[in-house]
């Protein structure tokens, strides 16, 4: 089968194991040449989706197209899909050369073509010197490169990666990501990459789809998902360290404004958000603050007022490339953990001390505690495809509303809200 020039189309895909829908009405269009990442916590259905694409599991309902071709009933080997697994799936009894050549031999490729392609792939992944060895003589990183080289020599219509970097040391991962991108660009074919690590998703994907409980939550670039999460779950899942979530109550102010009230603070609602928040007066909302939107008042690059700060006890200071991450807890009787990423290194002498942090109020997120839907910065309607977005509250809210029934809305609805807001 030739390249999937029309990309990969997934329509109303369902996979049930018994009563349980592990993949629940999934709709995606993966563009030709796109590296598309499926991300979500364990058990969200991302790996099952990958197996459905490969044909390793029969679908329960819905359709999968490679270009124009419906592949639901096509056997795995005839789908011409290349797979790179977490455990690399290389044959222990074969040499590195034979492992790389395996797919070509199985397709009866001529001998000189095999030799040439294996040599090229080995050079690209820096394993030329290992071609005569057996897998057990290789390190984890080398084995992973053998698996990539094996995928490279094939001309597959679709490349599927199932957590291929999960077993690698942190220091090898940066290099391995580069290798995967190299492979992807050389092939120019669509690829689907599954991971539970949002940082990996952000580093690799042209677009990222966040899944939860078998359902698609949101599709977009890494920055889209980060800055405009459609719901509390996506806000929580994307970004590391994660978004700070607080359960707040909306109270009217003496001077006609609104405040977000929590035992640890009373934050004024910025004017541009008041209309959206007003219907919740007297009710609860979940407030989300990204770690970079908490800064020392004197160093903040945004407007600071006395009542826009949260005080916290410094528990841990972790150095980062650009400054540090500070882990704090609020000062009320049942303290709540929160995190700030600062642009300068906080000296160790602040450990165990109380500090005020100013909140960048214009960057806060608010979520409806019932359905988890984002109130302020929902996704932009840039996607032309009718992708259904399911919203449900995050599994990790501030003081924990238990699991809520999920409800569904269309992205178009979210975008209407955006326009209203503008």
């Amino acid at each position: 089968m030739g390249p999937a020039s029309g990309g990969i189309v997934i329509e109303h895909l369902v996979k049930r194991f018994g009563e349980r829908a592990v993949v629940d009405d999934l709709n995606l269009h993966i563009q030709p040449g796109e590296l598309f990442v499926l991300v979500g916590p364990s058990g969200c259905g991302k790996t099952t989706t990958l197996r459905l694409l490969a044909g390793l599991e029969p679908v329960s309902d819905g359709r999968i197209y490679f270009g124009e071709r419906l592949v639901n009933d096509i056997r795995p080997r005839d789908r011409n899909v290349a797979l790179v697994f977490q455990d690399y799936a290389i044959f222990p009894h074969l040499t590195v050369f034979e492992n790389i050549a395996y797919g070509l031999r199985a397709r009866h490729a001529p001998r000189n073509l095999i030799r040439e392609r294996v040599a090229n792939a080995a050079r690209l992944f820096r394993i030329e010197h290992l071609l005569g060895r057996k897998p057990r003589q290789l390190s984890g990183g080398e084995r992973q490169r053998v698996a990539l080289a094996r995928a490279l020599v094939r001309d597959a219509a679709l490349y599927l990666y199932d957590e291929p970097l999960a077993n690698l040391d942190a220091q090898l991962r940066h290099q391995a990501r580069e290798d995967i991108l190299t492979l992807h660009r050389q092939k120019g074919q669509p690829a689907v990459y599954v991971t539970h690590d949002q940082a990996e998703a952000m580093a690799l994907g042209d677009r990222i789809a966040v899944m939860r409980d078998g359902k698609l939550q949101q599709v977009g670039s890494g920055l889209d998902l980060y800055e405009r999460p459609c719901n509390q779950f996506v806000a929580f899942f994307i970004g590391s360290p994660g978004i700070n979530l607080f359960e707040v109550e909306v109270h009217p102010d003496q001077d006609g404004g609104l405040r977000l009230v929590h035992p640890a603070f009373r934050l004024p609602v910025p004017e541009e958000f008041q209309a959206r928040v007003a219907p919740y007066t007297g009710r609860r909302l979940n407030l989300g603050i990204r770690p970079e939107h908490l800064q020392p008042p004197k160093r903040a690059d945004f407007a600071v007022s006395e009542d826009s700060t949260i005080r916290g006890l410094v528990n841990v200071i972790e150095p980062t490339v650009s400054g540090c991450t500070v882990y704090l807890s609020t000062l009320e009787p049942t303290p709540r953990d929160f995190v700030a990423t600062l642009k300068a290194r906080l000296p160790g002498s602040y450990l165990g001390r109380e500090v005020p942090l100013a909140v960048n109020l214009r960057k806060i997120h608010l979520f409806d505690p019932e359905d988890g839907q984002a109130l302020l910065h929902g996704p932009l309607a840039t996607d032309d495809r009718p992708i259904r977005v399911t919203v449900s509250p995050s599994g990790e809210p501030a003081n924990g509303p238990a699991e809520q029934p999920t409800s569904e809305r269309e992205t178009s609805e979210a975008s209407t809200q955006r326009e209203e807001q503008a």
């Binding site: 364990s42 580069e178 991108l181 970004g239 841990v316 972790e318 650009s322 400054g323």
Partner: protein, 368 residues
């Protein structure tokens, strides 16, 4: 609570190729209540070291002291250590509370003491830990099981706490949450701890100090700042810091630095501090200067956006060498300034080309 001291520990194994040293002369001190993170690539001996401290392996040579007590010959069950491994090993037939209380039921404690200790531990484990207590291990997720395992360890008031990759099996998001819980527990209970991991970021987070191991030896022990700003050699420099530092082969002659056919004058401050001849330059992602008259173009291969830090890590080629450059988020896809890029010579780490030891480092930056 107690301190820990290792003196000249050697551990040999009988392998297929004869006697093989797993630990070669390790000496180490961990203060009372201190958490020391031991980090190194797989096979460096870090897990063996932990087993030797626990008494699960006996050293070929050397002594182990808990405080002033020589523990070298003492059986593991008499050392009073608490251990947490990557597999959680809970008693499956007991609810979480039973797992926590088991030890007390088999030692001389009153029911009240047990209840009190379990309650206090559960309180410190966080708001949602209480409702784990009534559940059986098989109904718990990996993260929840590991939290119970850690709580079970803490509840026993161990003399020394040993952890070997305790969160490696959790998914990324869960790992992020669990490590802060562990850290707070260690702070609160002030337990002397050895924490083994292959992940330098986790080591930085968990350890008050870090020990970097390679091939059975400790290369360096110190704070993150010691290891980051004054690594003893290129191995430590490469291992500590994310993204990994870029290593550029270079040569110094007549006051000029030569890299891949180009050359730059060495800043005055550095002349006299570096020997002429071949060198290795250690360039961290934040050590690059844009828009320099004597800069050269960066050819971008891909950009990794890190919105929480408002930066992008740009991977690419500079003078034909693979490099990683930290840039403001807005410049992730390139900017004119990247056409004239070069390292900030005064910030770099300079290593010897032969044995890769540190020749010069500017040390920690002066912030104020």
């Amino acid at each position: 609570m107690t301190s820990l001291r290792l003196e000249h520990i050697v551990k040999d194994y009988d392998g297929p190729g004869g006697r093989q040293p797993a630990l070669r002369d390790i000496s180490l001190e961990v203060g009372d209540g201190e958490a020391l993170a031991i980090v190194g690539p797989s096979g460096c001996g870090k897990s063996t070291l932990l087993k030797v401290v626990a008494g699960l392996e006996f050293p070929t040579h050397g002594r182990i002291y808990y405080g002033d007590l020589d523990m070298t010959e003492i059986k593991p069950q008499d050392r009073g250590v608490g251990m947490v491994f990557q597999d959680y090993a809970l008693y499956p037939a007991m609810k979480s509370k039973g797992n926590l209380a088991y030890y007390f039921e088999h030692h001389a404690y009153t029911h009240e003491q047990m209840e009190e200790r379990v309650r206090r531990t559960a309180e410190l484990m966080g708001v949602d830990f209480q409702h784990l207590l009534g559940r059986f291990p098989e109904t718990l997720s990996g993260g929840e099981q590991q939290r119970v395992a850690i709580a079970r360890c803490i509840v026993r008031d161990p003399t020394i706490f040993l952890m070997d990759e305790p969160i490696v099996n959790l998914d990324a998001k869960r790992r992020e949450q669990t490590r802060i819980e562990i850290k707070k527990l260690l702070r609160t209970f002030h337990v002397t701890t050895l924490y083994v991991t292959h992940d330098q970021q986790e080591a930085i987070f968990m350890g008050d100090r870090l020990a970097v191991m390679r091939a059975g030896r400790i290369e360096q022990v110190g704070s993150f700042d010691d290891l980051y700003y004054t690594p003893v050699n290129l191995f430590v420099a490469t291992f500590i810091g994310s993204p990994p530092l870029t290593v550029l082969p270079a040569a110094l002659s007549e006051g000029r630095l030569h890299i891949a056919g180009q050359s730059w004058p060495l800043p005055e401050d550095l002349t006299g501090r570096l020997p002429s001849g071949p060198l290795r330059l250690g360039v961290r992602a934040e050590h690059w200067l844009r828009d320099q008259p004597d800069g050269l173009p960066l050819e971008i291969s891909h950009s990794e956006r890190i919105p929480t830090e408002r930066i992008a890590l740009v991977h690419g080629h500079w003078l034909g060498q693979r490099v990683i450059v930290s840039l403001p988020l807005e410049e992730a896809d390139g900017s004119p300034g990247l056409q004239r890029l070069r390292p900030d010579w005064e910030q770099l780490l300079y290593f010897a080309a032969d044995d890769e030891h540190l020749l010069y480092s500017p040390g920690p930056p002066a912030l104020f």
